[in-house]
Amino acid sequence: MNSLLLPDLFILLQGFTVLGIDLFSRKREPVVTFQLTWSGLLFNFILLLCLPYDRTVVFFGTYQVSGLALLFKQIFVISAFFTVLLSRYYFTEKGNFRGPMRAMGEFYGIVLFCTFGMFTVVSATGLLTLFIGMELATIPLYVLSAFRKGDDLSAEASTKFIVMGALSTGILLFGYSFIYGAVGSLRFVNILAFATQYPLHPLLFLGLLFIFAAIGFKLTLFPFHMWAPDVYEGAPTPVTAFISVSSKATAIAFLIVLLYGPLAPLHPRLQYLILLLAGATMTVGNLGALKQKNLCRFMAYSSIAQAGYILLALAGQAEMGRASIIYYLLIYAAANYATFFIISIVSQKRTEEFASLRGLGKQSPTLAAILLLSMFSLAGIPPLAGFIGKFMLFASAAQEGYYFMVIFAALNSTVSLYYYLLLIKEAYILQPTAGPMVFEVSFVQQSSLAILTVFMILLGLVPMISTKILLIVQ
């Protein structure tokens, strides 16, 4: 057996172990599941770093591991790792103003299985594996968003999420069926051969149109983004963070797998569609974020806008598109998780409103500084990682000559700077109306914030990482 399959097997085994311990443990909330999950994910990440990235191996004809897949797996593992760390405090009595969450072991088990589903998406060699992977990655998210069983908002958010998600699954399948009808096979190799021969086949385009509509739900593209703010606000905050990073990364990985893989011959004809969707998505996200007062809802609109920027890179050529998207996803994950850690600390006693941040700059300068860094990174201010990431995304589109779109995107990110600065204003300038904040920063939160901050600064300053990613995906 080849070592390239080890991370996938390990995460599956880990999921079953965590669930098993939760099932047979005498305690109601076995803390050992938390220890096992985070240490296992850390081990998995180290394992992923040690594997060879220059090989492509196909297992049983249906499961393929390549350098690109391993890079995406790194992102998924990092995201799951920080979700686990972020959620730890929510299971304690003083963790959050909405009260403690229950069933810790199940939560971690579901996160692990969800991550395995994401692994499957990037390892698919056929539409069947891709479909199963996508479902494995989304169905656990519905469960996670309903995790506060006693909470009215959590129930409503998950209801909206699952209705939209199930509808998008139906549309996705309809799209697959047309591609199968045109090609006569579900395997990527055959689809690529067919698409090279008949790049203008109408059934392929019909199928791709349905697939775009369906993945638009998962990636929160413009006409299909309505569910995101409601779900982000209602779901438990660690789950919101997980959805905003992992689920988005899965959706974009799905598009990369399809558009640079079997459907690559159609890519030149799809560029205008991609640019149109990207432009509309970033505008809607940015305009929506301007008037928000709730932090999670604000992060939802911010992530819609980010999805627009990421999609812009998909209009470029394969190498640059893949490399810039993976690099940006890493940066986006770091900045997003840092923000969500701060939201979780602030909302221990107060609600998740903008006003809750008031006085943070005086009371805890470190936390406020990290918030400042992550906001600047999301907005793309030069010395930070976000700038280099956005630069590469836009460069990918510029290489194809779409300068107009690049200028449009740059203007859009200026708008985004305004609302990211609103958050900074709340933290530093506005005077608190209520008394001083009451919060505790646990060791887990301190160390995660430290790692994320180092990550945000280093990713921008060390060009080696982006070069390495570019080398791997070529």
Binding site: L127, L128, F131, I132, E135, I139, Y142, V143, A146, K149, D152, L153, A155, E156, A157, S158, T159, K160, I162, V163, G165, A166, L167, T169, G170, I171, L173, F174, Y176, S177, F178, Y180, G181, V183, G184, S185, L186, R187, N190, P229, D230, E233, G234, Q292, K293, N294, R297
Partner: protein, 101 residues
């Protein structure tokens, strides 16, 4: 029975499903409409497998997977809807407006 007939049928089923999702007010009704969409896709696969392709087994197996996966999805959906009902005592989607803005 030709491929064209099947495709017209599935397009109608798809349209009925989407119409149902958009207009139904009861959550269970919406789930039923989504099932209709999934089954339209299934019939599509079977029709293409029967009439056109070189590799009919793949198209015939796909619906089996779809049924299994959609059963899981519906199980989760029903569980969520039950927890929704416990809170609201009502499954009208127009009442789902605690989250908005």
């Amino acid at each position: 029975m030709t491929l064209q007939n099947c495709l017209i049928l599935t397009l109608f089923l798809f349209a009925i499903g989407v119409y149902g999702v958009l207009t139904r007010r009861h959550l269970i009704g919406i789930l039923l409409s989504i099932e209709i969409i999934l089954n339209a896709a299934n019939i599509n696969f079977i029709a293409f497998a029967r009439f056109t392709t070189a590799d009919p087994t793949a198209g015939a197996i796909f619906p089996v997977f779809v049924m299994a996966v959609s059963a899981c999805e519906m199980a989760v959906a029903l569980a969520i809807i039950i927890s929704m009902y416990r809170h609201r005592k009502n499954l009208d989607v127009r009442e789902l407006e605690a989250l908005h803005g």
